[in-house]
């Protein structure tokens, strides 16, 4: 009679085992920077409610080199966040058909960049034009 003693391998450090997992962890980590940036922006709104002096002080504090570095990192994180999300979005949405043809995942990914570009230009137009 054969002995059965199934061996379960440990999972400790699993995310270091494969470059794919490391990139996944990096993707998840970007959310921390996006959240910190949002908090900082919220704080700016709060100073706006407090008064002009507080708002101006906040604007000055944003020029601090540490903040500039943080903004650089947050921008990079937000871009990676967007890039990875655009890539997986076709997996999360219902399959689209044009007539009887299924719209390819690649087309959906590029469509998001197109929408992103159009909205960005529109916002830039409002900001610079206003």
């Amino acid at each position: 009679m054969a002995v059965r003693r199934p061996y379960v391998r440990p999972m400790a450090g699993w995310w270091r085992r494969n470059p794919f997992y490391i990139f996944y962890m990096l993707r998840e980590a970007t959310s921390v920077f996006v959240a910190l940036y949002a908090l900082q922006l919220l704080y700016g709104l709060y100073t706006l409610a407090v008064g002009e002096a507080a708002f101006d002080a906040w604007l000055v504090s944003l020029r601090h080199p540490l903040f500039l570095v943080f903004h650089g990192v947050a921008l990079a994180a937000a871009l990676l966040h967007a890039f990875t999300w655009f890539n997986v979005a076709p997996k999360a949405m219902p399959v689209l058909y044009l007539g009887s043809h299924r719209v390819a995942d690649r087309t959906l990914v590029w469509a998001q960049y197109l929408i992103f570009a159009v909205i960005s230009v529109a916002i830039l137009g409002v900001v610079l034009g206003g």
């Binding site: 379960v8 391998r9 999972m11 996944y24 999360a92």
Partner: protein, 250 residues
């Protein structure tokens, strides 16, 4: 076979009656251009160590028996070739995240039970006798699920999924892809039965979209898309149950 080179294959061995834990053993295997990794293992079993245990059957990437980790990547050993790894070496381990039964053979019980739980067969509105003919559907209706029906139950996607490795309560990629396959079939009316499985914590919501399952799937099933499309379906299901009395929307 016209042998022209040798390659080193490191194999994770585990015999439950003598070993307290798995350990590696190294073999030197001659190979030709067309020698698959599976044939390399067969060489070891036939010529070097007859006690090596592993599963295989079709040798043509369709039975789904021969999945293993090759240098940390889940793969079908019958459709990977030794030449691809030369002049480096190979480290072959049983599929990750699954209990090791013996050497390279894993315990598949958990998956098989999960597969049975999703009712992986068409549940028709009314059953018909065979002589009444088949349930028909249009090519467009077939297109809705075909990709998900290509699954060969090889479990590479479970070996790719860290969420399953961390908590094997998760139904996992292939079982959810097959659940979606039947729910998307125009001849099937079993969706209401299967939705509680989708909605459960162990259903689609245990997935964090690592996405590696779809990367390693040898059949283009894209289980990550089945799981994540069902997050939308699960949310709508919850919403409609909330809005309408039970049964009213069916």
């Amino acid at each position: 076979m016209a042998t022209h080179d040798e390659i080193e294959i490191e194999v994770l061995r585990y015999h439950p009656e003598t070993d307290s834990e798995p350990s590696y053993r190294t073999y030197r295997v001659p190979f030709a251009h067309e020698t698959s990794v599976l044939q390399g293992l067969q060489y070891i079993k036939d010529r070097l160590d007859g006690s090596l245990t592993f599963r295989w059957s079709c040798r043509m990437a369709i039975c789904g028996s021969c999945g293993m980790m090759i240098n940390g990547v889940p793969n079908l050993t019958c459709s990977a070739f030794l030449r691809e790894y030369h002049p480096g070496k190979l480290r072959i381990e049983p599929l990750a995240h699954l209990p090791i039964e013996r050497d390279l053979a894993v315990d598949q019980t958990d998956f098989l039970e999960k597969l049975a739980s999703i009712q992986p067969y068409i549940i028709p509105a009314e059953s018909k006798a065979v002589d009444e003919g088949p349930f028909t559907q249009t090519p467009a209706q077939r297109e809705r699920f075909y990709q998900y029906s290509e699954c060969i139950n090889c479990l590479l996607c479970y070996a790719a999924c860290p969420q399953y490795g961390l908590d094997s309560g998760f139904l996992g990629p292939a079982a959810l892809a097959l659940l979606h396959r039947y729910n998307s079939d125009s001849r099937d009316v079993g969706k209401a039965d299967r939705m509680p499985i989708v909605n459960a914590q162990e259903g689609v919501w245990a997935c964090t979209l690592v996405g590696y399952c779809s990367e390693v799937c040898p059949k283009g099933v894209d289980p990550a898309s089945a799981v994540n499309r069902n997050k939308v379906i699960s949310t709508l299901d919850y919403f409609f149950r909330f809005m309408a009395p039970r049964g009213a929307s069916e």
